[in-house]
Amino acid sequence: MTESDATESIAIKRASSLSMIVTLGGVAMLSGLLVVLTWQLTLAPIQENQRIMIEKAIFQVVSDATQRRTYILTDEGIEDVSSMQKNQKQQKLKKAGIKFYAAYDEQGQLKGIAAEAAAQGYADMVRLLYGYDPQCQCIRGFSVIKMTETPGLGDKILTDEIFLASFDALDARLSADKKTLKNAIVTVKHGSKKNPWEIDAISGATITSKAVGKAINQGAAQLLPKLSPFLQQLQQLEPSINAPEHAEAKK
């Protein structure tokens, strides 16, 4: 191999390294551009979809409600985060706060509290939203946010009438010291429900029924004792700066 051949092959190698870097860099920039563009364009519709989804669930578990506010409950108290951006909310949540929704009717009266709960079901986690009525101190219903239970068996929790009847007024009273639930909410065998804090399991779908019971029990036991001092504060919807028409309705 002559000297000129050697330099030529080195030059080719350098040229091809350069072309490799240029290609990768160019493709990376193009991808970045396309992805950022798509993200910007779809951000608003996605947030709107998420808002619609969560409001549908809230208004399903709290009857007669038409408005909602989002709060985070921390050791210091409750904080209205309805107008905060998503990442600020996440940071607050990470400080061991619990997110809940307060649902109000047209007149701004508190109709109920909704909160998320989750427990391991048959296949994966069952995530749901449950509705709490402070007037009767009971849980009045739940809405499944996400589940991958067995179709035809586990998903009967959405339709089985006896199971759902357990939620007409599921007892969630607090104990005398207001630190826990007076009676832990528990799922019992199909047909053996005797107390208002029990849930009648669906025969053939015990694991999923138990998951619902576990989730609501854990969620309520965590949220309700801490929330009870603030319930009075939440009774009437404060006319927010963004919604002057609610002040009109109050008159």
């Binding site: 990768l24 493709v27 993200w39 979809n49 067995t150 179709p151 035809g152």
Partner: protein
């Protein structure tokens, strides 16, 4: 001497993806989404369309850039391009319907590792012109969607008594629940493959018999 590229587009360019080189039934590529999201027809259709979209866009871009991508970095480049279009598809589906997005789960993002797309990029898009690549990719995408639909319809029909969400058999029908569960996916695909093998064998036997008959 470089090999002369064949630029002619024939009906075969389009049809090969649907029957002869069907990505699922013949080449056994992209199996993961095939079994995972075919528990209902809607999910199967959405997944098929999403994959076809990614296949079309990525093979289009790769075909256009094929003379500029150095051989050494081609796989890395293909993967980045495919990942870009999958991310775009992911966000677009979220914007269209959150319910559909939750039903398909992580499998939308898993389109990026669907061997079919990378395989097509490597074997076809990098060597052929834009129009020919697009025709072939469209055929492949349609073949993939047909495969997904054939599985989805059987599984939803037997496992839920419905098609596209519309109950077909009424309340008395006892659904064969295992069909919409993981084992059902394996078994239904196995059954389809059995059917195709049997048809192929019959065709071969018939043509053999014909040859013997005429000779």
């Amino acid at each position: 001497m470089p090999i002369k590229e064949d630029h002619t587009i024939t009906a075969d360019t389009f049809l090969s993806g649907i029957w002869k080189e069907n990505p699922v039934f013949v080449m056994l590529l992209g199996m993961c989404p095939v079994l995972a999201v075919t528990n209902s027809v809607i999910n199967a259709l959405a997944m098929g369309l999403a994959t076809t979209f990614v296949l079309l866009c990525s093979s289009a871009l790769i075909s256009m850039l094929r003379n500029f991508i150095p051989k050494e970095v081609r796989i890395a480049t293909y993967i980045v391009i495919i990942a870009t279009f999958v991310t775009i598809t992911d966000y677009v589906i979220q914007a269209i319907s959150l319910e559909l997005y939750n039903a398909l789960g992580a499998f939308i993002q898993l389109i990026v590792v669907n061997c079919m797309i990378l395989g097509r990029a490597e074997a076809y898009a990098s060597k052929n012109r834009f129009l020919k690549t697009m025709t072939n990719s469209l055929g492949m995408g349609i073949g993939f969607t047909i495969a997904l639909l054939s599985l989805g319809s059987v599984r939803e029909l037997l496992g839920n008594g419905s098609l596209l969400g519309y109950s077909l058999f009424g309340d008395a029908f006892q659904p064969w629940v295992v069909m919409v569960l993981p084992p059902g996916g394996f078994i239904v695909l196995g059954a389809w493959l059995l059917l195709f093998n049997w048809l192929k064998e019959r065709k071969e036997n018939l043509s053999l018999a014909n040859e013997r008959g005429t000779s």
